[in-house]
Amino acid sequence: MGYYFKIICELCSPLCGNAPRLDALIVSELIFKQKLCKAGEKLSKGDHISKFKIPSVPLYSEQYNDIPLYHVSDPICFINFEFREDFCCHIEPELYYFLAENERRSISSVSGEYKDTRLPLRLKNINKVVWFCRGTKDSVLEILQNNIFSIGSMRKQGFGVISSWKAEDVDEDYSFYAEKKDEKVLMKTLPKSFVDKENIIGYSIQYGACSPPYWHPGRFMNVAVPV
């Protein structure tokens, strides 16, 4: 059955992009830990989804059309404010000294292969991200504390650095739904059929995935996404 708990991730640098789904983070780490994938090997969008080997994850899951739906809510965070920063890259002319004589030519820096980059990044000032889960608390926490040091995009440039992972017990299972008077609020992206059955509020219907790998077209279907 597993225990009900929430995972709290405290951040100490701005988050670039969106907060990830916890099951995706855990699955991607465990694939390498459980040696289901060789180093450098990747599943691409062109590969059939059956090629994806599902590791054993310390989260409670239920099957839906052979897809495991892990009991973990979508990320919940309060965004203090958003701001913009630019990611810049351009070839410095002084390095042309290293080039061979016949390579010292003029190159376009406004278009083409060697175009200068000034990429605007959408950054979010967030103190912490929370996920509600059902599973084995200590195992989940151990995987996160030992392997995940930053989340979001552009992690190599110092965004989304994590200061601590914490886990706290909660009384009820909020991973799929949270009770609100007579209604239930959707907490996780689930197949559309899940919200048709019951009196559920707080979602929009989209076309996407509800189980890792979230980016693979083999997982796409009509889903209810919490809003």
Binding site: F81, F87, I91, L95, F98, L99, V161
Partner: protein, 311 residues
């Protein structure tokens, strides 16, 4: 096989001290350059504090100094093509529409180039992930104290109250000389056209913000599953950068951005000097293979023969 070394995860905390004004800019307002700042919440207010981007630290401190060392050691100065230069100094670009994942190619690169295993990059048709996260440089000031303490382990926590960020920010002003005002300008050149051109006034005053010298910045690195050779590469590149009067930010030609670096590691169980020596030995032993790998993966432009066919 060099990657057979035991891999581990490390965190390295660094302290940068500015020895000259630091001008790491974010843009301009009119004629004034503005120092790069990030908004943070401090005492329920939004305040802007100076920050050095991780991208800048990564390039200056590691990739550039490390690549220059590799080029000199391989003896290929003046023999690179532009794709090789782009890959070594800027990480390369994904330019082919058909992307592939060639595992043996990635493995070969990671074995040969510890620097690029750390920093990652991109071949023409595949992206290579790095294993080093470079943290942003945070000014050590009262507004940032809470954030810096979140990064630091318990024994290094900053307990005392610090000075506010505004006290570390100053201004610079430079003037580009007016040639018209130089006496006997005509004696410098006989060219009438140049003389008439120079008679136009080009006096320009330009100014901007700076972080004053003797300010301190906190930053660091976290490495995931790296061997001792990669740690050696990291410290060797930092050492080279520091020895060559390492700078951060712009206007280094005017003496700006000179910094010195101090570092500590919390989970240290390795001898850094030995790691650096093993990295240097690795580069010396694998020169030929490195050159071959670069030539195979970045062959450069194909030349056309006299008949117009690609050679």
């Amino acid at each position: 096989m060099v990657m057979g070394n035991k891999t581990n995860t490390y965190k390295i905390y660094c302290l940068l001290e500015t020895l000259s004004p630091l001008t790491h800019m974010m843009g301009t307002s009119g004629n004034e350059s503005l120092i790069n700042r990030e908004p943070i919440i401090y005492k329920n207010r939004k305040v802007y504090v100076p920050v050095i981007s991780g991208n800048s630290i990564r390039h200056r401190m590691l990739r550039k100094s490390g690549s220059i060392y590799l080029i000199k050691e391989m003896g290929i100065e003046g023999n690179l093509n532009i794709d090789q230069l782009d890959f070594m100094f800027y990480g390369g670009r994904l330019t082919q529409t058909k992307t592939t994942t060639n595992i043996s190619k990635i493995a070969e690169m990671e074995e040969l180039f510890p620097l690029f295993r750390l920093l990652g990059g991109s071949l023409k048709n595949q992206i290579l992930a790095g294993s080093l996260d470079v943290w942003r440089g945070l000014l050590i000031c009262e507004e940032n104290r809470e954030t810096i303490n979140k990064y630091l382990p318990e024994e290094f926590q900053i307990k005392e109250r610090l000075l506010p960020a505004d006290l570390f920010i100053g201004n610079y002003q430079y003037t580009r000389g007016d040639v018209k005002n130089i006496r006997d300008v005509s004696s410098l050149t006989k060219d009438a056209e140049v003389i008439s051109e120079r008679e136009k006034s080009d006096l320009m005053i330009y100014n901007g913000q700076q972080v004053n010298r003797n300010s301190l910045f906190f930053h660091g690195f976290s490495t995931k599953y790296v061997s001792e050779i990669e740690i050696g590469c990291l410290f060797h590149s930092m050492q080279l950068w520091s020895e060559e009067c390492g700078t951060v930010g712009g206007m280094a030609a005017k003496g700006h951005g000179r910094v010195i670096i101090n570092y500590i590691m919390n989970n240290i169980d390795i001898n850094i000097s030995e790691c650096v020596i093993s990295y240097i030995n690795h580069v010396k032993n694998n020169k030929e293979n490195m050159i071959k790998w670069l030539q195979n993966n970045f062959p450069g432009r194909k030349k056309r023969g006299s008949d117009g066919l690609l050679l």
